[in-house]
Amino acid sequence: MIEIEGITKRYDATTVVDEVSMLIEPRTIAVIVGTSGSGKTTLLRMINRLVEPTSGVIKLDGADNRSLPGYELRRSIGYAIQGHGLFPHRTVAQNIATVPVLLGWDKARIKARVEELMTLYQLDLEAFGPRYPHELSGGQQQRVGVARALAAEPNVLLMDEPFGALDPIIRNKAQEDLLAIQKRFGTTIILVTHDMEEAVHMGDKIAVMDAGKLVQYAKPAEILAKPASAFVETLVGASEKPFRLLSLGRVRDAVETGTAEGEAILDDASQRDALAELLWSGRPALPAKGADGKPLGRVTVDGLVKRAARPA
């Protein structure tokens, strides 16, 4: 659990982060959204003390994060940034091994961990291990960046626009990978982004920041349904709201009894994808199936449209 209590950062006269308090539950993803200059990155960097707060306290599992020297604290927290920050003079394997080496793990353990992570990230050990970062594609570099951040099995992972430099298709894949890995390791992730779509997709909770202040901190559905201010409303995007709301739900939650013609949709797909498919193919209903191929019923345009309406 991460407790942020009344944290403030001032540079001379300008207040970058202003009295922010929030609580991040263990094994969840909290996404901090805001425009540039909103203080979201500064807030993130105060958690691992790359930036020292002017006032306030941050506690990790109950312990003040100032109880350790900064560099030791940072070794226990994963850190992944936009542009990945891979070390150009070190191979992929050496890059991933950075924190384990700093922690003084023995060689066998480091090797085993690097292998595990590279396998997890679908990077062939023989082919990619000895390569240098500039020989990798953007998507591969990003994967190495996250693998490096997770190398020492941290409980907490801080990510600053980790998908910012990726093209849309690779970004989607990277987001899915991260969600899968978060589930697998139960890592608490704090992710900074300016992209509300990403926030709604990734976050268990979303923190919206504006001019250093925490404007709203709530579940995605609540942010969409009851934006706390005009700023949040703008950030959500008025015309996008119903679709974002739908994208939070799975097909299995919208299944009605009955049958329909045509190719079935997986129950794990988002309701937004189901609606898009219905609208595009001009059909009123679509059969739904489970991962095992078993028919479950159908989803209808009418049913989905009701779900896209503002929750009461």
Partner: protein
């Protein structure tokens, strides 16, 4: 229909023109009755035995044609190497041929035509080597081969009748003594500049306020003419020698090697410090941020990330300093600091150009070799450390 056309190589036109002038209009060797009287010019045909002169001319003409036209690189390489080798061997032959039997006062030296030919073919060779885009190891190999070839010619004694080697024969002992002083001055001041300049550069990188001040002072030092700097150092070093116990015993005096060393050291600082600052500033921000974010201490970040990434740029600074110091160390002789400059200034004083060459030629050769070696090393370190582009 394909028409046979003759296409000219742009640089080749210049090279061929130089060769034509040097081979047919300029003197190949100079004959002097003794080492300080003005010389008499001798053409290629006059300087070489009957059959050899036309042979050399033929080689030069063919090589010039190869240079002039667009020809394969291998052919141009062969032409330049063969022409240079022929010139190197035949200037020795000219020395023996022109020296009257049993005359030890006569001096035969290469004349303007010879030097122009060497220049022209070196230019051709350099152009070919650039176009071949050789690997660092191949360049070092080429340097070793050239050095061995020159060493072999020297050892064989075929150049012994040339004036510059006659000057050498009279000063063999002092040549090597001054040579080692020269190298000690150049390398020693470089080493001192690296030892002081690297930490200073790191400090300048870390502390903004420091940077402008330090770099400005070093810039000002760089603009002081070397002779003026020697003069400026005489008083403070003289004071140190008389007032600091043990300083004089270490060889610190107002004149001699100490001020020369100090001046070279001061000149070396700017390139070392400036390149360290530039190199460290060029480390990708994201890499630095990631290093900090993952829990490296400042020290670990400096030695593990910043320094390795800045290394090629710092080496470039060291290359500048080394080549500059080998040349500048010549001036040290002015204030009794020794080095090859001793021969240069003696030669100027005696109007004996051969003696000037005895000091200048090894200096140029060393600077040239140092540049090739360090360029190769820089390229080798840089290839592995290419900065990420994505």
């Amino acid at each position: 229909m394909q028409v046979m056309t003759v296409r000219f190589d742009k640089l080749g036109v210049v090279i061929a023109a130089i060769i034509a002038y040097a081979a047919f209009a300029a003197p190949f060797a100079t004959f002097r009755a003794n080492r300080i009287v003005p010389g008499e010019a001798r053409s290629i045909l006059d300087s070489l035995p009957a059959a050899v002169g036309p042979l050399l001319l033929a080689i030069l003409v063919i090589a010039a044609i190869i240079a002039l036209l667009k020809t394969p690189l291998v052919l141009r390489l062969a032409a330049s190497v063969i022409a240079l080798a022929a010139l190197a061997i035949l200037i020795g032959v000219a020395g023996s041929f022109l020296t009257p039997e049993g005359n030890t006062f006569a001096r035969i030296s290469p004349a303007s035509g010879f030097w122009l030919l060497i220049f022209a073919f070196t230019l051709l060779l350099a152009d070919v080597l650039t176009r071949l885009n050789l690997s660092p190891w191949a360049r070092l190999g080429g340097l070793v081969i050239a050095a061995l070839a020159i060493g072999l010619l020297l050892a064989s004694g075929s150049w012994n009748s040339l004036s510059i080697l006659k000057e050498y024969a009279n000063r063999a002992d002092s040549f090597w003594a001054e040579g080692s002083k020269h190298v000690t001055l150049a390398l020693g001041s470089l080493a001192a500049a690296v030892v002081v300049g690297l930490p200073l550069g790191i400090l300048c990188h870390r502390v903004d306020k420091f940077r402008a001040g330090v770099l400005n002072v070093l810039n000002i030092i760089q603009t002081i003419p070397s002779i003026a700097l020697f003069g400026l150092l005489i008083a403070p070093l003289g004071w140190v020698a008389t007032h600091v116990p043990g300083a004089a015993a270490l060889g610190i005096r107002g004149i001699g090697a100490a001020p020369a060393f100090l001046a070279l050291f001061l000149y070396s600082l700017l390139p070392v410090v400036a390149n360290t600052v530039v190199g460290l500033a060029g480390v990708p921000r994201a890499a630095n941020d990631a290093a900090r974010g993952m829990g490296m201490t400042d020290r670990q970040r400096l030695f593990g990330v910043e320094f390795p990434l800045a290394f090629p740029v710092i080496l470039t600074g060291i290359r500048i300093v080394l080549v500059q110091n080998i040349g500048l160390a010549t001036i040290a002789a002015l204030i009794g600091g020794g080095g090859f400059g001793v021969f240069v200034f003696q030669g100027v004083g005696q109007t004996a150009m051969d003696l000037v060459l005895l000091g200048a030629v090894p200096t140029v050769a060393m600077a040239f070799a140092a540049a090739i070696i360090l360029d190769a090393v820089i390229e080798m370190t840089a290839t592995k450390r290419r900065v990420e582009t994505a």
